[in-house]
């Protein structure tokens, strides 16, 4: 399971695009990058997952450069309700490889 490094916290304003970068320098060939979102007093929620290039869904986009040593979660036009902790994980598609959460990024959206 690759170690990931994220900013501890970020502030942004409503309507802005927010990009949270995660470093995973020792990512293995079979590791995928996954992001979870956790609101206060709730369990984490899966947002997006990718292996390389770009993945987009109704919530976010995930950009992964060719060397895969980092990834960027992009949240378009954030609102106050996007205030949450965002966790980046790099884990393999192996039966025994479990989700281990890093410290996450505490995103605070300001009005």
């Amino acid at each position: 399971l690759a170690k990931t490094t994220q900013p501890i916290s970020m502030d942004s304003y409503e309507g802005q695009e927010v990009n949270i970068t995660c470093s995973h320098n020792n990512i293995a060939t079979n590791d995928y990058i996954t992001w979870y979102q956790q609101f206060p007093s709730q369990g984490p929620r899966f947002i997006i997952q990718g292996y390389k290039t770009k993945v987009t869904n109704e919530v976010a986009s995930l950009f992964i450069p060719a060397d895969r040593k980092s990834s960027t979660l992009s949240l378009p036009r954030v609102s106050l309700s996007d205030t949450a902790v965002y966790y980046c994980l790099a884990k393999a598609r192996d039966r025994d490889d479990k989700i281990i959460f890093g410290k996450g990024t505490r995103l605070h959206i300001l009005p």
Binding site: Y32, T34, G43, P44, Q49, D94, R95, I99, F101
Partner: protein, 114 residues
């Protein structure tokens, strides 16, 4: 809607008094996990069941036990809670443990130890 349910949402117990937290799922997933999350920290995996196969994390204290009587239910037993065990306890499920399978989390049970 299919979901992961945790009861109760808030639990208060006394120091040293055994307590059981419950989790149920309607997703029919094979895997059920228990995490401990302390204030401003990331969730920490305690153990998981793949079907009836129990997998304990190496650093999970013996004070924490788990039972999974059937596919739908999983319990977390804390035999002698200490003040340091006050935390949010999260239950999660997934169809498998590979990366293809995202985890679905319940709302958590916040445990207070007095």
């Amino acid at each position: 809607d299919a979901m992961v349910i945790q009861n109760p949402r808030y639990q208060v117990t006394q120091f040293g008094k055994p307590v059981t937290l419950s989790c149920s799922q309607t997703l029919n997933h094979n895997v059920m996990y228990w995490y401990q999350q302390k204030s401003s920290q990331a969730p920490k995996l305690l153990f998981h069941y793949y079907d009836k196969d129990f997998n304990n994390e190496a650093d999970t204290p013996d004070n924490f036990q788990s039972r999974r009587p059937n596919t739908s239910f999983c319990f977390l037993d804390i035999r002698s809670p200490g003040l340091g065990d006050a935390a949010m306890y999260l239950c999660a499920t997934s169809r498998g443990t590979g990366d293809l399978y995202e985890q679905y989390f319940g709302p958590g049970t916040r445990l207070t130890v007095t």
